[in-house]
Structure formats: C-alpha cells, structure tokens
C-alpha cells in the first residue's frame, strides 16, 4: 500500500488503515482561489496604470530629446513622436568642444598602457612568485614597473597632443610619484592573500579558478582609470558649456560622495560602538535638528561662503562644503546597520590585537558593504540632482553652474521655445550615470535599506 503512487494532493493514503481515502476539496476553498485571482488582477491593473502614468514624463523627455531643434522648431508641439529622429540636440551639447577626439586619443593611449601594464604585472608577478621573493621587494618592483608605464604614457600623450618635451616633463614626473604609490598599494592587495601558501594546504579547494586573472584585470582597469586622469593633466579638454556644467556636477557629486561617506560611516560607527558621555544627547539633538529643512540656513550659508570667496566663481568647492557640512547628521540608518553586527566581533578583533580603526576597516567595513554602498549612493545623488543650493551659490556665474541650474537657464531665456528639446537632451544625459549606478548596485541598495531598518 505504501509504495502506491499518490497521484493528487486530494487523495490521502492512510497507511495504517491501508485505505485510500478521497478527501473532498471544500467548495469554499475553490471560490477562495477565484477571489484571490480577482484581487491579484485588480492589483496588477492598478500597478500597470500607475507605472504608465509614472513613466510617461520620462518617455516624453526621451522622445523630445530626439526632435531636432533646427528642423522641428518649438517648445510645445501637438504631437508626441518626432517626425524625424535626429541627434542634433545632443550634438549641440558638445558643440565647441573637442570631447570626442580627446576621449578617443585618451582611450587609445590608456588602453595601450593598460595592456602593457597588465602584461608586465602578470609576468613580473609570476616570475617573482617563482623566485620566492620577499613581499616588500615584490611590492616595490611592481610599483616601479607601473611607474615606468606611466611615464611612458605621459610622454606619449603629450606627443599626441603636440606638446613640447618640456611641457610633458612636469606631468610625467608628477605621475611617476602618483603611480609608484598606486602601484605599491595595488601590488600589496595583489599579493595579500598568499595564494601560494593557501594552495599548499591539503584541503584547499580553489573557490575561483580565475581569481588570479581577475586580480590582474582589476589592476588593469584601475590603471586605465588612472591613465585617463593623467591624460586630463597632460592635455585638458576644451569644454562646451554643457560639458563644463556636467563636469562641475560630477566633481561636486564625487567629492561629496567620498567625504560624506567617510564622515557618515565614522559617526555611525562611533555612535553604535563607543559609549561616551552625552552620546544619547547628541543623537537626540541631531535627530531634532534634522527635522528642520536645510533651506532655513540658506541665507546664512550664502553669507558665510561669500566671506570665504566660495560663491560664484568658487561655487564648486563652496557647494562641496555645503553638502558635506551636515553629513554626520545622516548617521541614523547606518548606525542601525552597525548595531546588527555583533559586538563580540569588535571585541574579538581588539583582543586579537587590532586598534579601533583597524577593527572598523578590516572587520566592520567588509561586513557593512550594503550600507556603504547605500551611503555612497545617497551621498552621490543628493548633489547630483540639487537645484536650490547650486542656483544661489553660483548665482549669475556660468562657470560655476551645475547641470540643473544650467539647463534651467536655457529654458529661462527669451528663446526658451527653441531650447526646450536641447534641455530634454541634457536631461537624458544627466540620467545616464545615475541610472547605471542604480542598476549595478540596486541589490546592495535594497539590502542596505532593509538591513538598516530591521533593527534600527
């Protein structure tokens, strides 16, 4: 009886009695299923309508950005899909700059150097492995190799841009120092895990066969980014208005993201782990202060910045200062996350010989990856889309605008009808990096939000 197949859920095999009983499915249950289906249907319909309503403005913006400002004039036209799709608006954004040729040259150079650096690192690393050299020596050699690569790059970049050797020498030397430092750091990371030692263990199972290759690739990518940076030093790009605004926004957002993340995480860690007099008071005060909108301080801030010469032409550093100023107040979510990491990990690491800072860096940071990413994203996004602060700090000074302020000025002129489609194109390009960031990091983002919230 027992090995009889059980074809459906509705039939229950009663092993003791040896009978197969058919259990009638109650009618209520069936109708419940139907009810569920209807409810789901309604929910999905509502959600679909909502998402369409939500998406319409974006679709509209993207479509408008492809309507040529030369051929189909006008701000508000009575049709949605442009008659001819053109890239005129986008071209306008880059007009008067050598952006594409600059990028092309830079990439070509950087790629070549990265390739050389990769090969060098790889072979050097291998031969050094074989030679059983000490860690310090290996580190230095790798660093030096990369520095040589950089010097070659700087001189070559200068040659491409037609500069004299004298002009090339300064950035080349500067880069030499930079790259030696970077090389040492990367090489240390590269050699840290001691794969060789691990592999000699009897039970070692390689977790990832391509780990070595991955490390080399990462290294190459880092070098590539640095090479681009050097290119900027060697031959600054001639920028159009839009590119300058974009650059301003990017600079502000990047600096803010880094500084704010460091401050927020340190403050949250301190409030989560250290017990000091006035801790509760600080937390409560900050929470209450946070209830006041930041705009209340606008006029005061403007005068303070003005005293320091950080308005108009100095708008970029001024804005970075403003955005970073109160960042410690955003400790709440990450503190909640840190609270969920067992305290005994800290204690154990401290007994193992770590200082507070080493505990933070080596134990807490790797475990708090979601909240780090969440903090970086938040810190990047706020200045990226800010209009209010940016508009009054850079007031009237084109060079200091960020994208939001600049684009607003286009549609605030007498010719606003004609600038509308260009405004749309500018808007689309602004959305690109933030969208990419979100898509890449959304997994962590959700973990960060919920992880911080659960035991907040």
């Amino acid at each position: 009886m027992a090995d009889k197949k059980i074809p459906e859920v509705d039939i229950i095999v009663d092993e003791k009695a040896g009978v197969i009983k058919e259990v009638e499915q109650p009618k209520k249950l069936r109708s419940k299923k139907g009810h569920e289906r209807r409810v789901n249907g309604t929910i999905y319909t509502v959600l679909t309508i909502m998402s369409i309503v939500w998406l319409v403005p974006f679709v509209f913006l993207v479509l408008q950005s492809f309507r040529s400002y030369k051929l189909e004039k006008g701000g508000m036209v009575d049709y949605l899909i442009p008659k001819t799709f053109s890239l005129d608006n986008y071209a306008f954004l880059f007009e008067g700059s050598n952006f594409f040729s600059w990028c092309g040259k830079a990439m070509l150079l950087a790629a070549a150097v990265a390739l050389a650096a990769t090969l060098l690192t790889h072979f050097l690393g291998r031969s050094l492995d074989r030679a059983d050299a000490s860690r310090g020596k290996t580190t230095l050699t790798l660093g030096a190799a990369m520095a040589v690569c950089y010097a070659a790059l700087a001189i070559a970049a200068g040659a491409v841009h037609g500069q004299a050797l004298g002009q090339r020498l300064v950035p080349a030397l500067l880069g030499l120092v930079l790259f030696t430092a970077a090389g040492v750091i990367f090489a240390r990371i590269y050699l840290k895990q001691d794969d060789k030692l691990l592999r000699s263990l009897p039970g070692y199972v390689a977790e990832d066969k391509h780990e070595g290759a991955k490390k080399v690739a990462t290294l190459a990518a880092e070098l590539w980014a640095l090479a681009l940076l050097c290119q900027c030093i060697v031959a600054p790009m001639q920028a159009s208005q839009y590119i300058r605004w974009y650059g301003n926004t990017l600079t502000i957002a990047l600096f803010t993201a880094v500084i704010q993340t460091v401050i927020v995480l340190s403050v949250s860690y301190a409030l989560s782990r250290l017990r000091f007099r006035g801790r509760k008071l600080i937390m409560n005060t900050v929470l209450v202060l946070g209830l006041f909108p930041g705009f209340l301080t606008m006029i005061t801030l403007y005068f303070l910045l003005k005293q320091m010469g950080l308005t108009q032409a100095g708008a970029v550093p001024g804005l970075i200062l403003i955005y970073c100023a109160s960042s410690g107040m955003g400790y709440y979510i990450s503190k909640g996350f840190f609270d969920t990491i067992p305290k005994s990990l800290d204690e154990s690491a401290r007994i193992d010989g770590a200082t507070r800072f080493q505990v933070f860096l080596k134990i807490i940071m790797p475990l708090a990856k979601p909240i780090v990413i969440y903090t970086v994203l938040m810190a990047f996004m706020a200045p990226w889309g800010d209009y209010v602060f940016a508009s009054y700090v850079a007031f009237g000074h084109q060079e200091g605008y960020n994208v939001a302020v600049g684009l607003y000025n286009w549609v605030n002129t007498n010719d606003f009808q004609n600038y509308f489609t260009r405004f749309c194109a500018g808007g689309v390009l602004v959305a690109v990096p933030i969208t990419a960031l979100f898509m890449a990091l959304q997994k962590y983002y959700v973990e960060g939000v919920t992880g911080g919230a659960v035991k907040g």
Partner: protein, 374 residues
C-alpha cells in the same frame, strides 16, 4: 604563561549598579581556573575586565608583574574564546586564525606554520579554505579556539565556550579542552554556568553569586566542604537536600535530630563544632542525593517519605520524595542496588524510608547560611 592577581577589583556600572564587589584572587602560572555561578553573578564581567573589554572601576589587576588596569586589550597578551564564537564571517578559516598574527606583522612562513599546527591540533585542517558559515557549530568553536592558540598568549580566557553546543558535542569538546590544556600548558580562565564543566575542567573553582566570591577551592574541596548553603546547593547534581534539624549537645559530642531520627555526629565534626562553639538549636542539615540509602521496611532511625516522582536515569534512579512536612528531597539510588520487585514498588504515592551515614552530613547556620563545619 603568567600569573594573575586581582586585588579588590570592583565593577560599578552607570546608575550605581555594582556587578562585582571586592574581588580578590591570585591565579598561579599555568593554572586552570573556572569561574562558575548562576547568570548575573558577575563571572563574565570579571573575565571581561581581565580581557580589558570592561574598565575596572576600583582595584588593581596584575598580569605577570605588570599592572594592566589601563592597558588596551591588544597589549595585554591574552586570547579569548567567545560564547558565540565571534568568527569573522567574511574571511576564510585560515585568515581568521591568521588575523592576529598578520596584525603583528609576522612573517608569512611563521604564520603558515602556526596556523597549520593549530589546525592540526584541533583537527580542522581540511576546513581551512572555507568560510565560517560553511562550518557546523562544533567546527566553528574549534576555529575560535584555534584563533586563540595560534597567538601563544600568556593567558587564555574562555567565556562559556561550550554553551552554544548540543549536549553530546559539549561533552566531547569538554574532553578535548582537557587534552588541549595538556598540550598548550598555559594559564586558563574559564567561565561557565555549568557546574559539571567547572568540576571536570578546573584546577580550582571560583564560585560566585551576586558579584561576591562565595568560595575558592579545588573541585574536591568545594564538593566536600562547601562554605555555605549556596555553594552546597550549586555544586553537585541533583542539588544537595537541605533538611531542618535541631542540633543537640551531649557532653562534648554533638548530634542532630530531624524527622524523628537522631544522627550522632562523628568526632571530626564535633571537634569543628566545638571549635566554632556552636550552640544547640536550629540548623540546616545537608545531604547529597547520592549519599541516601533506601530502606523499605520502615527501619528504625530512618526518615519516612512519600514518593512523588521516579526518574529513571539508566544506571540510577532519581526519586523525588516528600517528607511529612512537605519538604521535597531527591535521592539518587543506583539501579543495581534494587531488586526487580523493589523497583516495581517505587510508584507514585508509595511510602519509603531512607537514611544516610553521619560522615557525609553538612551543617549550616540557618541565619547566616554559613557552614558550621568549614
């Protein structure tokens, strides 16, 4: 390897909660000391003060010849095993164990040698490349111990290391800790709430309650001559039976009268009572469950009781017996001592009688709860 000295150590938390009162203890080099007591007795706090994770409110702590009150945990040369293992989840077992050595900037080869050696001792060599989450509880605990032994510390602290393991594994690990101790001969301080662990592991046991040390002594000492009611009740399982009795003096010999029987105390006990100048009157008489002898026939000079619960433990029976004034006592009777019929007769409500030899009795003052025989 170092001796430790705690002098008048006191821990006061905010709001004037005193967790540890005037703790005095000298721990010899290479000694295995166990702090035992119910939860909230201050044993973990004391350990954490030794580790440097809690500030010492008053008193001095000396490790070796150095006063370490204000020394950071990392500079005290101690290692600690936590109850919840506290392994670093993001790195492999190998790196977990190597963590402290790397912080000390130790040579790679030396790190490798030490980690492998520790892994060998603990039998976790095949797990070195795994992350902690891929290990079972027992394996994790081994890694935690391994992380401590690679350090070769002066003092080895363990904070209830076995309480997260299931009963079987706990017994196994207990035996392994005894073996481990033989191999790495150093000073151990072990905190537990389990008196069995304390008895089996410790060279000396420190029994604590409400922040006070109740008694310090070898397992033998605290078992045979408990200093007060609390120690007597805490050490030994099931716990000692306490019976109301009357002390009577007959020339220079003492005797105790309880439940209609009279227990003549031997010369050794009488001498101690005389030395304390004990006056006849109310006392508490303590008898361990295993010292009771069962009588079925209502023999003279035996205490009568009614059986309430009969727990069959395999090699022995635990009989919960109510005396005529509703005092509950527990008797531990070896199963082999009873015949089939006698065992069958031990059912709910059946009458039985028991006695005990006078040389195993303990006497306590009901007022101060101190032992009269200490």
């Amino acid at each position: 390897m170092a001796s430790l000295k705690l002098e008048h150590v006191k821990k006061v938390y905010d709001k004037n909660v005193v967790a540890v009162h005037d703790f005095n203890l000298e721990i010899k080099d290479k000694e295995f000391i166990v702090f035992v007591g119910p939860s909230g007795c201050g044993k973990s706090t004391t350990l954490r003060m030794i580790a440097g994770l809690e500030d010492i409110s008053e008193g001095t702590l000396t490790i070796g010849n150095r006063v370490v009150n204000d020394v950071e945990p990392k500079d005290r040369d101690i290692a600690m095993v936590f109850q919840n293992y506290a392994l670093y989840p993001h790195i492999t077992v190998y790196e977990n164990m190597a963590f402290s050595l790397r912080l000390r900037k130790m040579d790679n080869e030396e790190v490798h040698r030490r980690v492998c050696e520790a892994a060998e001792i603990l039998g976790i060599t095949q797990y070195l490349a795994r992350k902690p989450k891929a290990l079972s509880g027992g394996q994790r605990q081994r890694v935690a111990i391994g992380r401590a032994i690679v350090r070769e510390p002066q003092v080895f602290l363990m904070d209830e290391p076995l309480s997260n393991l299931d009963a079987k594994l706990r017994n196994q690990m207990r035996a392994e800790i005894i073996l481990l101790r033989k191999r790495i001969d150093t000073t151990f301080i072990y905190v537990t709430h389990d008196q069995t662990e304390a008895m089996t592991l410790g060279d000396r046991i420190v029994i604590m309650k409400d922040g006070y040390i109740q008694q310090v002594g070898t397992p033998q000492e605290v078992f045979e001559t408990p200093k007060n009611l609390f120690v007597a009740g805490f050490i030994g399982s099931p716990q000692m039976n306490f019976l109301k009795a009357k002390l009577v003096k007959n020339s220079d010999r003492y005797a105790a009268e309880l439940y209609g029987i009279r227990v003549e105390l031997d010369e050794k006990r009488s001498a101690k009572l005389r030395a304390k100048n004990a006056q006849p009157g109310q006392v508490i008489l303590g008898v361990r469950p295993e010292h009771a002898q069962l009588r079925f026939d209502g023999a003279a000079n035996a205490i009568e009781g009614t059986l309430r619960v009969n727990e069959m433990m395999g090699s022995e029976l635990h009989l919960h017996v109510d005396l005529n004034d509703d005092t509950r006592v527990i008797l531990r009777i070896p199963t082999l001592d009873l015949t089939e019929e006698q065992r069958a007769g031990l059912t709910y409500g059946s009458k039985l009688w028991f006695t005990f030899p006078e040389k195993v009795t303990h006497l306590f003052d009901p007022e101060t709860e101190e032992s009269l025989l200490f």
